[in-house]
Symmetry: D2
Subunit: 338 residues, 4 copies
C-alpha cells in the first residue's frame, strides 16, 4: 500500500499516520521527495485495505499494490482450472458451444429446442426457467415447472443444462435440476446469492455485471470461491457504454485480461454483448480469437416467435454455420471444438 500525502502535510499528521499503521502491526517507510512525502506500507494489504486512510487529515490518496482477490487469482493459484460437466471439459483444449433459447417456453418446446441444439452440435443446453425482466409486466418465466421441463430435455438429449438462478431461496432447488447454475449480469453483486452458491457442489457460471470492472468481476468470483465452491466459470457478456447501436459493447478485450489475472475458465455470451442476431457470429468469433474457452449463444428454431430476446437469437441454420466457423477459428488457434 502506498500512501501519498498532501503537499502541505504537517509533521504531526505524518506522525499520526505512522502510528496508525504501526498499531495495525505493519511497517511504514516514509520517503520524502521534493514535492511530496510518500509512505510505503509493508505487510498484509488485506488488513490495511479496510482502513479509511483517505479520511485522515494530510492524506491525498492511497494506492493499493495487490489485487484484492486471492482464490480467483492466478498469482496464488497458477494452475488452470478445468471444470468437467458430464463429458465436457470447460477450460480445456476444446472449445465448448452452449446454445438454447433465452427462456423455457413450455415442456414440449424446450425438448424440441434441446434437440435442435444437439443437432447443431452444441454440447450444453441453456434456457431460463427464472427470468430477470426489466418490466414487471413481461413474461417472468416458468419457474419451478421450467426446471422440470429442463430435466425432461436433458433426459431426451443427454445435454447438460445451464440455467439461471436469481434468488438465494431458489439455489437448492435449481441445484437439484441444473448442471451449471448461471448468475445473471444484474446479480453479479447480489452477495447473498453468491454466498449461497458458494455452498453447493455444482459449477456456477458468473456473468459479468454490465458496468463491472474486471477486478470487481473477479471479486464476485472470489465470493463464491471463498464460501467453498471451486467451480466458477467467468462469463463476459458485453458492458454498458455510450455506444447504443448494439445492446452492449462487446468486451472481447476482457478475455486476455481475465486469462492473465485468473485461472478460471472463460466462456462468453455474444448474444447479449451485441444484442442483434446479425452481429452475433462476428462477436462469437471475436471472443474466441481473444482466448475464450467457450461460447454461449441464444438460438431458437423460429426467433420471431421466441418469448424473450428474439431480436438477438439466431436460428438453427445460423447455429450450424456458427459452429463450423468457430471450429475453424479454434483450429487456427491450436485448439479444437467439441
Amino acid at each position: 500500500m502506498i500512501i501519498v500525502l498532501k503537499p502541505q502535510v504537517t509533521e504531526d499528521e505524518i506522525q499520526h499516520i505512522v502510528e496508525k499503521i504501526k498499531s495495525l502491526d505493519m511497517q511504514p517507510h516514509v520517503s520524502t521527495g521534493q514535492y511530496r512525502t510518500i509512505i510505503t506500507v509493508i505487510g498484509d494489504e488485506d488488513i490495511i485495505r479496510e482502513q479509511p486512510l483517505e479520511a485522515i487529515s494530510g492524506v491525498e490518496s492511497v494506492k493499493a499494490i495487490m489485487r484484492p482477490y486471492k482464490l480467483a487469482s492466478k498469482e496464488t493459484h497458477p494452475d488452470i482450472t478445468v471444470i468437467r460437466v458430464g463429458d465436457v471439459e470447460i477450460g480445456g483444449k476444446n472449445i465448448v458451444l452452449v446454445a438454447g433459447p433465452c427462456a423455457v417456453e413450455g415442456e414440449k418446446e424446450v425438448i424440441k429446442h434441446a434437440i435442435m441444439a444437439k443437432k447443431a452440435g452444441a454440447v450444453l443446453f441453456r434456457a431460463g426457467a427464472y427470468k430477470p425482466r426489466s418490466s414487471p409486466y413481461s413474461f417472468q418465466g416458468y419457474g419451478a415447472d421450467g426446471l422440470k421441463y429442463l430435466a425432461a430435455a436433458r433426459q431426451e438429449t443427454g445435454l447438460p443444462i445451464v440455467t439461471e438462478v436469481m434468488d438465494p431461496r431458489d439455489v437448492g432447488l435449481v441445484a437439484e435440476y441444473a448442471d451449471i447454475l448461471q448468475v445473471g449480469t444484474r446479480n453479479m453483486q447480489n452477495f447473498n446469492l453468491l454466498k449461497e452458491l458458494g455452498t453447493i457442489n455444482k459449477p456456477v457460471m458468473l456473468k459479468r455485471g454490465m458496468s463491472a470492472k474486471i477486478n470487481e468481476f473477479l471479486m464476485s468470483a472470489e465470493y463464491i470461491l471463498s464460501y467453498g465452491n471451486k467451480d466458477v466459470i467467468l462469463c463476459p457478456r458485453g458492458i454498458r457504454t455510450f455506444e447504443d447501436i448494439t445492446r452492449n459493447t462487446l468486451d472481447a478485450g476482457a478475455v486476455p485480461v481475465l486469462k492473465s489475472f485468473s485461472h478460471l475458465p472463460v466462456l462468453c455470451d455474444p448474444s447479449h454483448a451485441v444484442g442483434l442476431k446479425d452481429y452475433v457470429p462476428a462477436a462469437a468469433m471475436a471472443y474466441l480469437a481473444a482466448g475464450a474457452d467457450g461460447i454461449m449463444v441464444e438460438a431458437h428454431p423460429n426467433p420471431e416467435d421466441a418469448l424473450s430476446d428474439g431480436q438477438q437469437t439466431i436460428d438453427f441454420d445460423q447455429l450450424v454455420d456458427l459452429r463450423e466457423k468457430l471450429g475453424m477459428i479454434a483450429k487456427a488457434l491450436g485448439r479444437d471444438i467439441y
Copy 2:
C-alpha cells in the same frame, strides 16, 4: 410503436409483419417514403413491446413511443407523491436531511451517532445493519443485531430509521425495525427483492443502479409499485463513467428529468456520488439546486475510525455547516429545510 423496414424489404415481408400486428388486435398503418417504409402501430404498446419484432425478416428497427412504466409515470399519475414518515414529509415543501454512518458499528456507537445526527439537525437517521461489500473479506455488518441497535437509537432520539435490505428473506424482519427500507445500487434490478418490497407497508428508498438508465430506474420503481407498495423514494447516488477522480459521477442532471417523468419524491446521496468528503458539500448543494427533495449523507463523529466508507464521510462540524448551507439554498429556491 414505429417499425422501420429495411430498404430492400419485400412485399411478402411487409405483408407478414402487417398480419402479425393484426393478429395481436392492433392496427398497422404503412407509410411508404422514397427511401424507407414505416409501419405505425396504433394500440396498446404493452402488448407489442413483448414481441421480438426485430427478429422478423425485413425489419430494421423498432421505436417505442410510450415509456414502459405507468404507475411511476407522471403522465398517468399527475399528482405529486408525498411520503410521510413520523413528522417528516418527503416530497413536500421542506427539504429532508438524512445523516448517519455507513454501517451500524455497535449498540453504543449507533446511539451516539444518532444523537450526533439529531444534534446537527438531521430529521432521519441512516446506518447499515446489512452491508453489501465488494469483498467477502470485508466487514459484512451486524445483521439482525444491528437492526435492534437501530431500534435503540430511534428510541433514544426519536429519529426514524433508514436502513438497507439486501435479501428477499430479510424483508419481513427489516420491515419490523426500519421506518424506510433502502435498496442499494447493486440491487436495483434484484427483481425478487423488489417484489417482496412491493408487499410491505413501509416506504422504500430505491437507489439508482450505478449504470442504470433513468427509464430502467423508474422501471424498478414500477416493480415495487406494481406489487402494491405506493411509497417509493427515488435516490440518485452517482453513476459510473470514465471519470475516476471521484468514486462515481454526480448525476444531478437526472433530478429534473426524474421530476419531469415521475411523481415520486427524489432524495439524493452525494456521499456515494463523489466518494471523497471534501466534495460532498458541493455535491449536496448541486443536487438540491437541481430539484432534490432531500439529501442523505454519510456522517460520523470521527470518519477515520469509521468501519466503512470513511473517506467519503463528513464529521459533525461539517454536517452542521452543510445543513446551514442547504437551508440557504432551499430558501433561494422558495423551499425550506426541516
Copy 3:
C-alpha cells in the same frame, strides 16, 4: 513515481530497472514485501514520466504521484486567477451570466440577439461565427463575416463577445474581433490550435472534451498556459455517458474538483450539458451551487427558428427568470450576480 514489479521478477530485471533510473539522475529505493517488490523513485517526475517503464521486463505497473501539469495547478500557483474582460471579472465574487444564440444568424439578427441578452441581464454575449457541425451538410456558420456582425453587436450593446475558433489559421483573425475565444469540446485536444491560442493576449474559454478526464482537461489548459497566455477559463459542458435521455451528462461534480486542483476560473455551459431546454435552468443552478464562477446559456428570442441547437435554447422570458434564480442561489452562497 512508484514502480510495482511482477511477483516473478528476477534479480537481474530489478538491477536493470535500478540502473535505468539511475541513468536518468534519479534515485530508486527498492522495498521488498512478502508478495511484491516496489521501487519508489525520488526526483523530477516529469523526466521519468516520458520513459516507457511498463515496457520493461518485470514491471507490472507504474503509478504517478504528481499531477502532470504545473501552471494550471493550484499547488504551484495557489493564488486564484481572476480574468477581467471590460468591466466584468470572471472568477471573482460575482457570478457571470453569458447568453446568446448558438450561431450568428446574420447582422441584423445578431444585433437583435445581443440586445435581448443585455436586456435580460447577461454581461457577456455569445454566438458562433464558425460552427463545428457533425454533418458536412449542416449550416457551417457565417465565418469571417460573422465576426464583423459580432463586432457590430458589441458596438450596439457594449457587451463583450465570446466566440469559437476552430482552426489554427483563424486564431489571429478571431482574436481581432472577439473578447474571449472559445475552444469547443471537439477541439479540446487539438494541440496545434491550443499552441496558437497560447500566443495571443485575449482570454481563452476552454470547453471540456466530451470524454476528457479532469486531468486531461487541465493538461489542455496547461498547453495554452505554457505557450504564454495566462488567461484560461475552464468550461465544463457535460460529458458523454451511457445515459441518453439528456444530450450529455451534467458534470457538476467536476466543478469542486477543478476548483480544488486549479486556480483557473470555472464557467459552465448547462445548455450542452443537458441538451433540452426544459432542464437547462435546473442544470444551471446545479453548476452554480457546485461552485461555478459563471454560467453560459444558449438563448434566442424564438428558439424554434434558431439556425442551430434550438432544442436546447431558452427564450427571453426563460433567460430573465433564470438570471433571477441564479442571483438568489448566488446570494445563498455568499456571492452575487452581475
Copy 4:
C-alpha cells in the same frame, strides 16, 4: 422523421407543426392513438433534420429514420470500396498488416524500424512525424524532418508509409510524403482538417474518436468523402469506458456494424485499444475474427527505448509471431494475409 407529441398537446400546437412541415415542402401524416399523437413526415429527411423541431411547443421527441450520411453508406453505395496503395489492396481478400513505432525517432532509426517491419512481414510502415501528445512537455515529434526520414525509409524498403497529420496547414506537405494520411482519435471531429483531407488524392485513415458513436464516426468519413476524396479507411482503435485496466476498451463489436453500414474498408489498431503489449496479440486476433480488413500495430526493436507508447509496443519476435497467427485466422475466415 417521426414526431412524437406530448400527451397534453393542443389542436393549435398540432396545426402549427403541420404547417411548419408543409412550409418545408414535406408531407405530414398525423396518427392519433389512445395516449399519443404521432406525426410521420414523408420527404427528404436532410431538410427537416436541420429544424429544431424539439424546440416547438407540444413536441416530446423527434426520431430520425434515415442515417445522416449518404456517401459513406452501403445503402446508397452498395459496392465495397477497395483502396490500392502500391501493390497492396485494403479492403480486398487479403488481410493487411501495418507495423512500425509510434514516433519517427530519427533518420537512421526509422530506416532500421522499417527494415524490421518489412522483415516481419508487414506490407505498410507506420510512424508519426507529428505527434499529438497530451502534455506540452512531451516529445512532440520531428515534424517536417520526420517526413523526410519516412521518405528515406520507404526508399530503402519499398514499404508505403502511413503517417499522421494534425493540422490543416500541414495537409499539403504531409500528402507529398505519405502514402496514407492518418487522422488521430482526437481529431476525428476536427472538421477543418477533414475538409482539407477531402481535397487531396491520397487515402485517409480515419481513427475512431475515443468517445465517438459509430454514426458520428461515419459522419466524419462523410466529411472527407463529401469534399471529393473517395479513399477513406475506417480505423477502430478502442473507445473510452469505465474499465481502466486496459488503456481503452477494444471495440471489436464495431467492426461488423461498420461493415454492415458502410462500404469503406476497416483496418484496426489493437495497440491503442488495449494499451499493454501483452494483450495486443489477442486484441489483434479479435478484431480480425470480427471482420477487419487489416491490423495496424505499434512495433519497435526495443520497446523500452521507444520515444513514445513503449508500454503498448511489441518487439520484432512478437510481430513475427503475430503475423503468423493472423495468417491462420485469416485462412479460417476464407481470407489470406499479404
